[in-house]
């Protein structure tokens, strides 16, 4: 099992959710987060004076999937979240040791 963590532009959340449900992903955890990457925040103007917004709002998705599903999941997220402009975000894949469904006690891929 793998844990796919993706940081995306907030306005792409609906597209990404749609793409993920189409490939059969059963669950997503969404968090509103702030941060910066190579884009390093950006500046705004107020009455002609600049001010820096250091941390930009982003959406973080966490999706636990079976090993066979990983590539498909990554493709779905990349496809739906990509605008080609700076700030599209990143996808991290980490190994997942165990999953337990609290209600039934199922474990492993059955619990996904």
């Amino acid at each position: 099992m793998k844990l796919v963590t993706a940081v995306i532009k907030p306005f792409k959340l609906d597209d990404v959710r749609e793409a993920l449900s189409q490939i059969g992903v059963q669950g997503i955890t969404v968090t509103e987060v702030k941060g910066f990457g190579r884009q390093k925040g950006h500046t705004e103007l107020y009455r002609g004076a600049e001010y820096v917004v250091d941390f930009l709002p982003k959406i973080k998705l966490e999706i636990a999937v079976s090993v066979e599903m990983v590539d498909q999941t990554i493709e779905a997220i990349s496809g739906a979240a990509q605008t080609g402009k700076i700030g599209d975000g990143k996808i991290f894949v980490t190994s997942l040791e165990q999953t337990i469904r609290i209600r039934t006690g199922e474990t492993g891929t059955e619990a996904l």
Binding site: L45, Y46, G48, A49, E50, Y51
Partner: protein, 411 residues
């Protein structure tokens, strides 16, 4: 019959005067909302306190001595009665106490201009001490040379030189801005506003809906400010003049708004709302010196000129490190001067030289007198809150309460 008509005219003019005065009084609400919207939320309570207190101080000081200095008569309005000023040669065409009411709200307007410019760092009671001097002496003396018709320190009379300021672009607005500039120069910029390498940092206003509401309230109040300055409405001529003034006042505000919005969009690439709001007010200030003579198109263009000028003025003052959180010095001072200089364009009774001498007289007196007053107050009680208090916000430091205690705020 003639007596009946005179009575009707008297009643109507008095009524009109009072309603216009009430509209101008409402401008105090406009200034309070505009300033509350453009400061950071940690300074909201204090700026509101300043606005309501300065209005009360202005009313009281003008009653005690201001009106007497400006228009003659006795201190404490002791000779104003319901039937007119005792001992006057001609019968009044409106109730004298209505005249006082209309004049007193103008003093408060001039004083309101100061509060926005020194917002977020001046001590509350130092500011109110200045309000006592400004509304009791500085403004009334300047008003006595202009609307009061007295000679300036007995040397020259502005009226004879072709100086004309219909409703107070110079007498009220530029005077307020001159005092504001003196205050800003002595109190200094807000901490962190100007960086070490010459960069200018933005402190975005906390509540732009309030700032917009404030601007609309001022726009409405301005009909009383300019419209009431016709001083009568109960004849065909007077009524026509009032209608023209209303039309031109509105046109100038619209022109100022459009011009400022487009200027800001071209300079910054974004439609800066605060500049559009300042543009409305700049249009209004620009037309105030002469709303009775231009055509509607001319009024729109005069307003637009004010709208363009105010954006460049705000940027320039920032470059000079003159920190004015709400743009009051630009809106009322720089554009107030423009308003005075535009009068001779459409009104042959005014001359450019008279307008310039008048502007210099008003600015020179109010600025120097304010500088001295603020200087004395600074020496006696200090005019600036401590660095720590400024960081925490003057709401807690001065008033002991927050505007929005149930919200967590970013400092």
């Amino acid at each position: 019959m003639e007596n009946d008509i005179f009575q009707l005219q008297y009643a109507l003019d008095t009524f009109y005067f009072l309603v216009c005065g009430a509209l101008v009084m409402w401008m105090a609400a406009g200034f309070a909302m505009l300033e509350a919207g453009l400061v950071r939320s940690k300074n909201t309570v204090e700026i509101l306190t300043k606005n309501v207190a300065l209005f009360a101080v202005a009313c009281t000081m003008y009653m005690i001595c201001g009106y007497a200095i400006m228009y003659g008569g006795d201190y404490l309005l002791s000779t104003i009665t319901g039937n007119g000023v005792t001992g006057a040669e001609e019968p009044a065409t409106y109730a004298p106490s209505a005249d006082f009411f209309f004049q007193v709200v103008f003093v408060a307007t001039a004083m309101s201009i100061v509060s926005g410019a020194v917002a977020e760092r001046m001590k509350l009671f130092a500011f109110l001490a200045f309000a006592v001097i400004m509304t009791g002496v500085i403004y009334p003396l300047e008003g006595s040379w202009t609307w009061g018709g007295n000679a300036v320190f007995g040397i020259y009379t502005l009226g004879d030189l072709g100086f004309l300021d219909f409703a107070g672009s110079g007498i009220v607005h530029m005077a307020g801005a001159a005092a504001a500039l003196a205050g800003v120069l002595l109190v200094g910029a807000r901490k962190g506003k100007y960086g070490a390498n010459g960069q200018i940092n933005a402190f975005p206003g906390a509540n732009l809906p309030l700032a917009t509401l404030g601007t609309f309230i001022l726009w409405l109040g301005w009909f009383g400010f300019n419209g009431g300055s016709v001083l009568a409405t109960a004849s065909v001529d007077a009524a026509n003049s009032v209608a023209v003034v209303f039309m031109n006042t509105n046109a100038a505000a619209a022109g100022g708004c459009i011009a400022a919005l487009l200027t800001a969009r071209m300079l910054f690439g974004k439609a800066d709302l605060t500049m559009a709001l300042n543009g409305c007010l700049a249009g209004l200030v620009a037309i105030t010196a002469g709303p009775d003579t231009p055509t509607a198109l001319q009024a729109t263009l005069f307003g637009a000129l004010g709208g363009v000028l105010v954006v460049f003025s705000i940027i320039t003052l920032d470059k000079l490190k003159i920190d004015d959180p709400v743009g009051a010095i630009s809106v009322h001072g720089v554009v107030g001067l423009l308003g005075l200089l535009l009068v001779p364009v459409t009104n042959g009774d005014a001359s450019f030289s008279g307008q310039i001498i008048g502007a210099l007289t008003i600015f020179g007196w109010v600025f120097v007198a304010s500088l001295v007053s603020f200087g004395v107050i600074k020496a006696v009680m200090g005019i600036r809150v401590s660095e720590e208090e400024e960081y925490e916000g003057s709401d807690i430091a001065e008033c002991g309460m927050e505007a929005y205690p149930e919200f967590t705020t970013a400092r």
